[in-house]
Amino acid sequence: MIELMHVSRVVDGRTIVADVSLQIASGTILTVVGTSGSGKTTLLRLINRLVEPSAGTIRVAGRDVRTVPPDALRRGIGYAIQGHGLFPHRTVAENIGVVPKLLSWDRNRIAARVDELLALFRLEPALYRDRLPAALSGGEQQRIGVARALAAEPPILLMDEPFGALDPIIRGQAQDDLKAIQKRYGTTIVLVTHDMNEALRLGDRIAVMDRGRLVQEADPTALVGAPATDFVGALLGRGDRAFQLMALRIVDDLVEPGPAPGAPIMAGTSVRDALAESLWSQRPALPVSRDGVILGRVTRATLEAQGACP
């Protein structure tokens, strides 16, 4: 649980963050969206005291962060940034093991944790352990950056545009990985991004920042359905709203009994992808299956209805 209460940050008379109050429930992902200069990165850095608030209180797990020494606080909070910030003179294993080492874990435990994380990110430990960051691809560097943030099993992970430098395909993969890892460890994640689609895809809740102010904080469906201001609407891109909504839902609970022709789609398919498949294969209804068992069908009319304003 992270709580921000009336938090402001003012530098040389310029308000970077203005009176923001937020609660982030344990085990959820909050994505913070905004244009550059909206204060979203500062908001993130306030949580681990990389910057100090000018006013307001921040509590992490019930404790005011000002009562915890910054170094100790940061060792308990994972931190991953755009451009990964890997130490160029340290090997992959040393980079991942940096926080456990600061926490004085014993050597075998660090080595085991490094190998576990490399395997988790589908990087063969024997092959990658002793490489230097310069010998990795951009996608690999980014994964090591996230692995480093997770190394000491922090309950909280702060991420600042962690996927910003990745190409779309690797980016999608990295987002899926993050979701899977978050489910596995139950980590609370605050992720800053300027990409609304990424925010909608990853966030349990989304906070929209505009010129230092928090203009809306809502779950994805509510945000798409009822943007609080024109700015939120502009960020969403009005033309895509119906499809953004469809992308957020899966066909699982739209299944009705009855036959449908052709190959089945999975129950976890998004409404958007299901509709695309229905249009592409010219089938007014699609069979839906889970674990190889046909559950029933979903009709195009049902799918289309999901795009309506909630």
Binding site: N48, R74, Y79, G83, G85, P88, L132, A149
Partner: protein, 402 residues
């Protein structure tokens, strides 16, 4: 068939076209110029008399002159062509070796037996050819891209060969070694003083400059002040700096108890050390500031973000990443101070400058060389050694793609 031949004709011309190496051609021309057009050695009846310049053909017995001509005559055309770096190194080294031998041979040949006053010294032709051959060999070595360890090995090999030549007595009749014989009792001490002054002043500058840079860098005003003060120091001519130091150091030596026992006085090693230290301070400090500035912001940010304390960040991230830049600064001042330490001879600080200034006042060029040549050798050796160390320190962070 005819068309086939026509298309191939230009291709078959290509190997026939001479493939000149521009840099190698310059070295070859200098080698030829040195050997053919300029005197190889100068022979003087005593150490201050005017000399007679002699070409290779008159300075050497026929057989040895032919040997020198043959080796240089083979090496020069080879260097002018586009050849493998290994061959280039071999040709340059062969020419160097031959020139070293020829100098000794000429001295032996031109010195009447039993004569102790005659002076045979290398002249313009020899120096020119020696420089050209040395540069060609160095160029060949550089093109081979040797590893740092290999370069240190090459330096050790050259030092061992030079030691062997000196031990063998081959050069005993050369004028510089005649000067050495009459100074052999003090030579070792002056070399140690020279090296000691240079090393101690650079070590002291590192001990002061690196912490000063670390402390002042984050504070813009302090950093600007520090660098501009050091910049001003750097612009003071060395002679003037000695002059400025005499009064305060003499005062300290007289008034502070124990200072005189430490050797602090208006003249001697103290002002030399202080001046060398002052000159070393700017490059070391500026290099440390630049090296720390070059640490990428995301890396610095990540180091804070993972929970390193300021001290841990400095020791584990910033200093290791700045190390190659800091070492480069130290290399510059060490080479600079080995040369500059000659000035110490002028204020009674000892070192090889003693010979240089005695030689100048006695109008004895050979004595000047006895001071200058070891200085050049020490500075060059330090440069090669530290360059290799810098490359080694860079090695870990360098791109090592599998």
């Amino acid at each position: 068939m005819g068309g086939h031949r026509a298309t191939r004709a230009p291709v078959s011309f290509r190997p026939a076209r001479p493939a000149f190496d521009p840099l190698g051609s310059v070295f070859a021309a200098l080698l030829g110029l040195g050997l053919l057009a300029l005197p190889l050695v100068t022979a003087r009846p005593n150490r201050i008399a005017l000399g007679t310049p002699l070409t290779a053909w008159s300075a050497l017995p026929l057989g040895q002159a032919l040997a020198l001509g043959a080796v240089l005559g083979c090496a020069a055309p080879l260097l002018a062509l586009r050849i493998a770096p290994g061959l280039r190194l071999a040709a340059g080294s062969a020419a160097l070796t031959m020139l070293c031998l020829a100098a000794g041979w000429a001295a032996d040949h031109l010195t009447p037996s039993g004569d102790r006053y005659g002076r045979i010294s290398p002249d313009a032709g020899w120096w020119l050819a020696f420089a050209a051959a040395g540069l060609a060999a160095g160029d060949g070595l550089a093109r081979l891209r040797p590893s740092p360890v290999l370069r240190i090995g090459a330096l050790a090999l050259v030092a061992a060969l030079a030691g062997l030549i000196l031990r063998s007595g081959l050069w005993d009749n050369l004028s510089v070694l005649r000067e050495y014989v009459s100074r052999s009792d003090t030579f070792g001490r002056e070399v140690r003083t020279q090296a000691g002054l240079a090393l101690a002043s650079v070590a002291a500058a590192a001990l002061v400059g690196i912490p000063a840079a670390i402390l002042a860098r984050p504070v813009p005003a302090l950093r600007a002040a520090l660098l501009s003060v050091l910049n001003v120091v750097q612009t003071i001519p060395s002679m003037a700096l000695f002059g400025m130091l005499i009064a305060p150091l003499a005062w300290i030596g007289r008034t502070v108890p124990g200072a005189a026992d430490l050797g602090i006085a208006g003249i001697g090693a103290a002002p030399a050390f202080v001046a060398l230290f002052a000159y070393a301070l700017l490059p070391v400090t500026a290099a440390t500031v630049a090296g720390l500035d070059a640490v990428p912001d995301p890396v610095r940010d990540a180091a804070r973000g993972v929970g390193m304390t300021d001290r841990q960040r400095l020791a584990q991230v910033e200093l290791p990443l700045a190390l190659p830049a800091i070492l480069t600064g130290i290399r510059i001042v060490l080479v600079q101070n080995i040369g500059l330490a000659v000035i110490a001879g002028l204020v009674g600080g000892g070192g090889l400058g003693v010979y240089v200034f005695q030689g100048i006042s006695q109008n004895a060029g050979d004595l000047v060389l006895l001071g200058a040549l070891p200085t050049v050798v020490m500075a060059s050796g330090a440069a090669v050694l530290l360059d290799a160390v810098i490359d080694l320190s860079r090695g870990r962070a360098a791109d090592r793609t599998p």
